[in-house]
């Protein structure tokens, strides 16, 4: 047996520079936290925002110069390709927006501490590793870097009873999920003899009918479904989302979802498409039950964060629907539709969470739907923006939520998943009720002190810009420009779906 020396040349360092930079800033932030001179909220904020901005620009540049074919380094440990850079760009963009919002929130002094920023950057570095790898070892290490860091961030940023409870529940179920995923990887390895995703698909072709592969595929889809928060395995999501500080909730709902979806695309499209007869029914079942049960459970929610958590489970269901369509006969629609859905979901959620964070600043606690009563009178701009977000989450035209659902349904229908699409349509009809409830509260009800209409947060430039920006993107992508975003999604998907 010979061990090839990895090819660590300049082009590897330049294409992995975002991950390297974030690992370095993580260490710098940690050292700043223990030094007497530089330990201040301001310096932590500067190093965080500057390094994230630099990383984002770097990723955009790398996305621009990378061609249609991807390049492998470290014998599959790192892939420099458009799909990876797409996911990385989305994740770092989310991290930047979340840090800007945190900088304007009541939790600012707690979040911008050396050790928290160090954890935050490690989490992002883990996410960036996970979306750009062909190797199950690296994928698992990246996943755990992200997950373990997030458990600690939730419990440690502002240790209240709520956040600790959310962290413990998330930790237990997240660790079980990681173990199940890993057990699946172990059986895939046992059956195929390799841990490279691309080699697994080759090996599966040779040994068809091996029951250990099928067990491995089922365990893998269950583990991914746990992390994606699909319905039989969704129990942690509302608790973790409600317990966490709202900025971290926004980060988890968007960046974690991007990471898991991109990794799932790689594992299932590149690796396990040979045994799709085994995992597609499981995934289809999870998608259908998420679409129905998450929307039904969301009807009864009072807390806005909990409502958005159930809505995020339902949105995972839509993406799982497209993932299930991936191994049918018509393959070229499903990956671009997932990526487009990710863009739309990330923009909408960030906007909605930005408004919630801004409203929370006044109160320093979770807000419930009743708190929004009469918001349209006091803050017409915020109320209109929140209605746009709710319309988009519910999938009404002329917002991007409509177009992205259309693409998902198109991908599913072109692979004859008619039953799942009907379930999805029923689910999205149910979901309109609770999205509309928020809008009705804001516009059609008079505020009274009993219901808590006294929220009068002060103006915030950052929130205004971010909310305005997301409204603009939602409306533009929903009307004039969906083509350009779809083209980007198609370019990024070319790496796995071959066109």
């Amino acid at each position: 047996m010979n061990f090839p020396i990895p090819d660590l040349n300049l082009s590897f360092y330049s294409s992995a520079l975002p991950i390297i930079l974030l690992s370095l800033t993580s260490i710098i932030a940690l050292l700043m936290g223990v030094s007497k001179k530089c330990n201040s909220v301001k310096s932590a904020m500067w190093i965080n925002n500057l390094s994230l901005l630099a990383t984002l620009l770097m990723i955009i540049r790398l996305y621009g110069i990378s061609g249609a074919a991807s390049e492998m380094f470290l014998s599959g440990g790192f892939i420099a390709g458009r799909l990876g850079y797409f996911g990385q760009g989305l994740i770092v963009g989310v991290a930047l927006v979340v840090s800007l919002l945190m900088g304007d929130s009541y939790i600012k002094a707690k979040f911008f501490r050396g050790e928290i920023i160090a954890l935050f950057h490690m989490v992002i570095a883990g996410m960036l590793t996970m979306v750009a790898t062909d190797d199950l070892i690296t994928l698992f290490v990246g996943l755990e870097m992200a997950s373990i860091g997030i458990y600690a961030l939730i419990g440690y940023t502002s240790p209240t009873k709520l956040s600790q409870e959310g962290a413990v529940k998330y930790f237990i179920l997240g660790s079980i999920a990681a173990a199940i995923l890993l057990f699946g990887f172990a059986f895939l390895y046992a059956a195929t003899g390799t841990l490279r995703i691309s080699e697994i698909s080759v090996a599966i072709g040779k040994i068809s009918g091996h029951s250990w592969v099928e067990l491995g595929a089922i365990l893998t889809i269950v583990g991914i479904g746990f992390k994606m928060a699909l319905v039989p395995f969704h129990m942690w999501t509302p608790d973790a989302y409600e317990g966490a500080p709202t900025g971290l909730t926004a980060f988890m709902a968007t960046a974690m979802k991007t990471m898991i979806m991109v990794a799932a695309i790689r594992v299932f499209e590149n690796g396990l498409s040979g045994v799709h007869g085994v995992w597609v029914p499981v995934l289809g079942f999870m998608a259908a039950s998420s679409l129905l049960f998450a929307n039904i459970l969301a009807l009864a929610q009072q807390s806005v964060k909990r409502l958005l958590a159930y809505s995020s489970i339902a949105h995972s269901g839509y993406m799982a629907l497209a993932l299930a369509a991936m191994s049918g006969g018509v393959r070229q629609y499903s990956v671009p539709s997932i990526l487009f859905y990710l863009i739309s979901y990330v923009v909408v959620s960030l906007g909605a969470f930005a408004i919630i964070m801004w409203l929370e600043n006044e109160r320093c606690e979770n807000i419930i739907v009743d708190d929004l009563t009469g918001l349209a009178k006091q803050h017409p701009f915020a109320a209109v923006a929140l209605s746009v977000f709710m319309f988009s989450l519910g999938g009404m035209p002329p917002t991007v939520g409509f177009i992205s659902k259309l693409y998902i349904f198109n991908a599913a229908l072109s692979n004859n998943l008619v039953g799942l699409v009907i379930v999805a349509a029923i689910g999205s009809t149910i979901s309109l009720y609770y999205y509309m409830r928020v809008i009705v509260r804001m516009f059609m009800m008079e505020g009274s002190p009993v219901l808590g209409s006294l929220i009068k947060p002060k103006r915030s430039m950052v929130t205004t810009w971010i909310v305005g920006g997301s409204v603009a993107i939602i409306l533009l992508l929903g009307t004039f420009l969906p083509e350009s975003a779809l083209r980007m999604a198609k370019h990024s998907a070319a790496e796995v779906s071959g066109g």
Partner: protein, 100 residues
């Protein structure tokens, strides 16, 4: 030589014991131990498979899994301590603020 399938079956049994322990035990320390048991079942499959295939990838993965399990245990125990300081017990039944 023992057939490799025997190891897999043993690992499945260990994994299920760990899974049921993690889901149904009420004590947080026991839950953590059950999660470790699940990860050890995974390690057993990796080592047995790597040995039978004649490939070191499985053993390398085991090293990574051990490292990650240690990190998980560190964070998990820190959380258990935090819960114990707030509530004076490590029983999961007291974690009932978030529900619905």
């Amino acid at each position: 030589m023992v057939p490799v399938e025997f190891y897999f079956v043993l690992a499945c049994v260990m994994f299920l014991i760990g899974l049921f322990g993690a889901l149904f035990r009420r004590n947080l320390i026991m839950v953590l131990m059950s999660i470790e048991l699940m990860l050890n079942a995974v390690n057993l499959v990796f080592v047995a498979a790597g040995r039978s295939i004649g490939n070191v990838d499985g053993q390398i993965m085991v090293l990574f899994v051990i490292v990650v399990a240690a990190c998980e245990a560190a964070v998990g125990l820190a959380m258990v301590i935090a819960v114990f300081r707030k509530y004076g017990t490590v029983n999961t039944d007291i974690l009932r603020l978030l529900r619905g």
